[in-house]
């Protein structure tokens, strides 16, 4: 995207105005039992402006990049702020500013041909179809998306590209007890980058597919857990979901202001002292974060938000406006917008529980009767911290050893209560970054953590 689109507006923007140009690309291929039920590409772009006046925001967007369009959205955003400001009865209040100043050198957008992605999906599907003909169903999905954006708040034009690419497979088999089908769903690799950064040789993934099939066969013979409170080792994917859904959302400043369980608890013990949790901006544990954010959609320079430090609640994620409600709390680049037509909301970026020192095998060995839970189909959490995660892959633990596989079930609990029960934290972090967080708008986020051991309520049949 050409930075000159916005350069000439940088010096003359009205006060408290953000101007953004964005183009979003996506490609998607889905094969259901070999049939190409999804084979699409999309591009959507435009310009938006947001203005803050009398305590409210005015926003406008148009699906064009012309100077005329920019003039229109600037005028309309101002009119909208005036319309609402004159009726809202709020006062002007200065917003804190820590704008990104500098230059980013994003990788240019690289359009990978649809045919390349289709050929790759077809090869993966062909392998599964030939090797495992008895499957009840199989789905192979490839997707690649990129958001390319320019933004100015009058402090220089920022340019970021945010590409992601993934291969996802879902396999189904008949359950051994004749109760229908069971399935396993898994994201194979991928992350920030273009499709061919991760997927060039289909055979690189055959070993993983074989392992998923073995998991599916165990699940087909699986059992339902005994319902109730139990000791569990929650592996990285679930720990990440716990960090994001059950803790992260309750510490987003807009939800804190709405009365979430984290409200008024800064400085309090909310988890075991073994737990530290951070929303990382662009680096984590000395490496590039899975989905790095350098500047947010208010122009704020992104930095890490330490949410829990050794069990103590230490921070909230804020936008410029919400930070004014928490005396002295810095803005750290959490105001993010999905499409060109979306306004920034308080969102997470790369949210992760810090690693500890325990080995996974020791954690499992420490449980006499319980469960080892690996994957989740979905998760939801309340602003009260009450969470529910669907469990799609797990095992019994009996006498410190893994037992039978589990059928689909659910775990629930209250995040801060559950985190206080954590007495072991694994030494290896794993991330997942393929999902979208939903909060008015979708948003690519990553989440991660080590395996943790604690107590949760598990559903039976």
């Amino acid at each position: 995207m050409d930075i000159s689109l916005l350069d000439k507006y940088d010096a003359s923007l009205p006060d408290e105005t953000v101007l953004r140009v964005q183009k979003s690309y996506s490609r998607r291929v889905v094969l259901l039992c070999g049939d190409p039920v999804g084979n699409s590409s999309s591009v959507a772009g435009g310009v938006c402006a947001r203005t803050y006046r009398k305590g409210v925001y005015g926003f406008a967007s148009l699906p064009e990049y012309t100077d005329a369009a920019i003039g229109t959205v600037l005028a309309r955003a101002s009119e909208n702020a005036a319309f609402l400001g004159s009726r809202a009865g709020k006062k002007d209040a200065p917003l804190p500013a820590d704008f990104f100043r500098g230059s980013l050198s994003p990788r240019p957008f690289v359009p990978v041909p649809q045919g390349t992605i289709m050929d790759f999906a077809r090869a993966i599907d062909g392998y599964i179809a030939e090797k495992y003909p008895s499957l009840a169903s199989r789905t192979v999905a490839c997707r690649s998306d990129c958001r390319d954006k320019l933004l100015t708040v009058g402090a220089g034009v920022c340019h970021q590209t945010m590409p992601r690419s993934y291969l996802i497979i879902s396999l189904s088999a008949q359950a051994a007890d004749g109760s229908g089908t069971v399935d396993v769903f898994e994201v194979l690799g991928g992350g920030e980058g273009y499709f061919t950064d991760y997927y060039t040789e289909p055979s690189d993934w055959f070993g993983r597919i074989d392992a998923i099939y073995e998991e599916l066969m165990k699940k087909a013979e699986g059992v339902f857990p005994d319902a109730g409170m139990c000791d569990c080792v929650i592996d990285s994917e679930l720990a990440g979901m716990l960090a994001h859904e059950a803790v992260g959302h309750t510490t987003e400043a807009d939800l804190v202001l709405a009365g979430s369980v984290a409200a008024g608890r800064l400085g309090q013990q909310v988890a075991s002292e073994k737990i530290s949790l951070t929303d990382f901006a662009y680096e984590a544990f000395g490496e590039k974060a899975p989905l790095p954010v350098y500047v947010d959609d208010e122009g704020t320079a992104a930095s890490d938000v330490p949410i829990i430090t050794n069990g103590i609640l230490t921070g909230y994620m804020t936008s410029r406006e919400t930070s004014t409600h928490f005396d002295g709390m810095p803005v750290r680049g959490n105001a993010r917008a999905f499409a060109y037509s979306d306004e920034p909301l308080v969102r997470m970026r790369n949210t992760c529980i810090h690693p500890g020192t325990d080995k996974l095998e020791d954690m499992i060995a420490s449980i006499d009767k319980g469960y080892y839970l690996l994957d989740s189909g979905n998760g939801q959490a309340d602003t009260t911290g009450e969470f529910m995660f669907g469990i799609t892959r797990g095992y019994e633990i009996v006498g410190g050893k893994l037992g039978r596989a589990l059928r689909d079930t659910t775990i629930s609990g209250v995040a801060f209560d559950m985190l206080k029960t954590v007495d072991m934290v694994g030494d290896t972090v794993a991330w997942s970054s393929s999902g979208y967080c939903g909060k008015k708008q979708p948003m690519p986020v990553s989440m991660g953590g080590p395996a943790i051991k604690g107590r949760v309520n598990i559903g039976g049949r």
Partner: protein, 432 residues
Amino acid sequence: MDINELKKIAADCLDRLVAAGADEAKCLVCSGYSHELNAENNEWSLMRTCFREAVTLTAHIGKKRGTASLNSFDPEAIEEGVRECIEAAGNADGDEGNVLAEKTENRDFSGGAKEPDMDRFFDRLREYIDDVRKGREQLNIESLTAEYSFSRGVLANTKGVCQSEENGEYSFGIMYSAHDGDRTTSFNSVGARTDTLDRPFIEYADQKRMLDACIEELDARPVEEKFVGTAVFMPSCAEEFIDTAAGLFASTGCLVDKTSVWLEKLGEKVASDALTVAFDPFDSRVVCGERFTDDGYLSEPFSFIENGVLKQFLVGLYGAEKTGFGRAPNSSGSMIITPGEKSLDEIVAGIDKGILVGRFSGGAPAQNGDFSGVAKNSFLISGGRLAGAVTETMISGNIAEMLMNITDISRETVCDGGSVIPYVAVSGITVS
């Protein structure tokens, strides 16, 4: 841009696709705008105006299909979309399900509120915020999102189909919770669609009851013991479960791969006699209902389940071609459940042990319908009476069995402008 101009763009898109190598083609061309008002924590926060353009192109080369979408009417952008679409189709494998709708009757539809009255809309919303909190001081509107939206669209294909519509509507929705000192409730949400500003918004759906219930939820407690009893699902929750059943057992994907437990059930009982579900976008209570399908057929109402018997699978043209089942006469978006004869109070009075479920927060159900999750915004039923709000309470069961175990459907229905749904009582639900 008016409908005739959109039709010209659609025709141009089809010509370009054929010239580029498509044997058959379809396109959807839309434009519109919206004005959105937002409030957070009972105070106004944002007004947003978005102008929209959208083009979706589909090309068939033989039985191979490709799709490309863009949000611009610029000829160069459309040409690039055509190139993408043809490339995608050219690289796909053929699929016998890829056919286009034949021309029947082409219509131009128009409805709803064609122009926004933003001053009056704002006044209605301000009144609404006051009404929501009147007598409910502990209640916090975490967020209010309200919108006037106007759209025009043309769907055309190379077989002569050319349908169009234009309509405008208002919609509003709130997310809310109650707070009193350290006590806080789960959040809940409610909203509605309308094409008139004649009525106060508080009168839509069953908001007063839901908002009053939220205050009672401040005293929520966990259930003391696990039991198997009757769950009464509030309308929005009942709609969600039946939607889930439709997706798991009656939609294209599970019928094509034959994982549906209803695969052999067309014309047979899949639910209690008490359940009749129709999809009727022409119902007078539905605002701006669908007038033509994604394939380009004129929409018609149909029965999905009638007195417990499965009458229709929810497949479009592709699904019909793939499975041999008849095409559903609309896209299944306006659910109407036939009410029963008892009132909600009478239904509750007949339940010894059970739960009134306001919202369900659960994992994606297994393909066979097994589900478990947390009952939110819910109340215990004991001895024929509501016995207080519950928290940290799980419910589990099987959706296919649940439909067979429906014991009562209320005579009260709730209409939010998109569906008309009663309360639905189901026996055999595990509560823990």
